[in-house]
Symmetry: C2
Subunit: 210 residues, 2 copies
């Protein structure tokens, strides 16, 4: 069985990564996401093994030391990371795995795994990004401006990525990422084994003419 | 307007390149093929500017000297080539261009144009390739074996290509090439201009909150 792909989806907050990811996984049966580990306490309604794997900080640090995380970060005093084994188990079952991760995490993943496919999701314009951040309407003006400024700053990281998908609408973005998955499965370097065995496939060749 | 892509489709004879190309161009309105130039005489029914551009050998050689051909080859004493200007005119109109060309020609094109997308079309197995060559039934056994042997020899050139598409059936192969086209349009390096102008898109940014 072919090993599944590893996709990383990044993009400023307000781009719609979550919605796109969810729709992709629902439509594309061979694709799944991965559950992150965190050292923070569960919030109300959050279940271990569903929203996150919740671990004590000491155990999280042990995972870092053991190099068992594909990427990790410390945010407001809490640790978050992607467990390597879980991702690799799914991929070896032939499943493609998509991770919704920020630009710093994406870089860590590329260093661990050259074959990862890095996709940057962008709103059609900065105005639209601002409208989307504003549209949430749940935050203070200053927080919104900070979010926007952080999003703007992330744009310079795009040159590190393989693909950019403009999220004009969710269906369109989903369609483009599906095309990227299909195309990547056709890349010569991803078919090395198959191609090397190709001339021998089916054993001895019968050049009979009847 | 974005410049169109340049796609090169190669593969052993009997793979179904022609059928796949034709169906692709019919379904994908933004895609067109290019008409080759040749120094050979028109066969019955062949029209200048439709099947080929027919040129006297001296004129063909002039095109080579002027570096006006994307690729060219001499086959059984006749010259065949792809005119650069025609391809570039179509691409600057935003059309994607697909060329059905052998492995030697594909290499010449990659040297001229780094951005070309090289696709190798393969039957699902060597047995199947032999069956397809045999199935034509129009040739002498020795010619068929020669064809097969040439096809087999071409396989080693595949490492030079970007993508391999297994032609299990025409619709499937067409679908995969369509995905490759969509995905390639999302590649970061193909969106350089757009991304560089992105922060300024729409002029001054209005961070108002109403």
């Amino acid at each position: 069985m072919d090993k599944g792909l590893l996709l990383v989806l990044s993009g400023p907050s307000g781009t719609g990564k979550g919605t796109v990811c969810e729709k992709l996984c629902r439509q594309h049966l061979n694709l799944c996401s991965s559950i992150s580990v965190t050292s923070r306490s569960p919030r109300q309604g959050e279940k271990d093994g569903v929203h996150y794997y919740f671990l004590p900080e000491a155990q999280f640090k042990k995972l870092i030391e053991e190099d068992s995380l594909l990427e990790w970060a410390r945010v407001y005093g809490n640790y978050y990371g992607t467990p390597l084994r879980q991702v690799e188990e799914k991929r070896s079952q032939g499943l493609d795995v998509i991770l919704e991760i920020d630009t710093q995490g994406a870089k860590q993943i590329r260093e661990h795994m050259k074959e990862a496919i890095l996709i940057f999701l962008l709103p059609p314009s900065l105005e639209e990004l601002w409208n989307r951040i504003k549209g949430r309407g749940t935050e203070e003006p200053e927080v919104m401006k900070e979010r926007f400024s952080a999003a703007y700053g992330e744009l310079k990281e795009i040159w590190y990525y393989d693909y950019v998908v403009f999220n004009n609408n969710v269906d369109d973005a989903v369609e483009k990422i599906r095309a990227i998955i299909s195309a990547e499965k056709c890349r010569v370097e991803r078919n090395k084994e198959l191609l090397e065995s190709y001339p021998r496939k089916g054993g001895k060749l019968d050049l009979s003419l009847d």
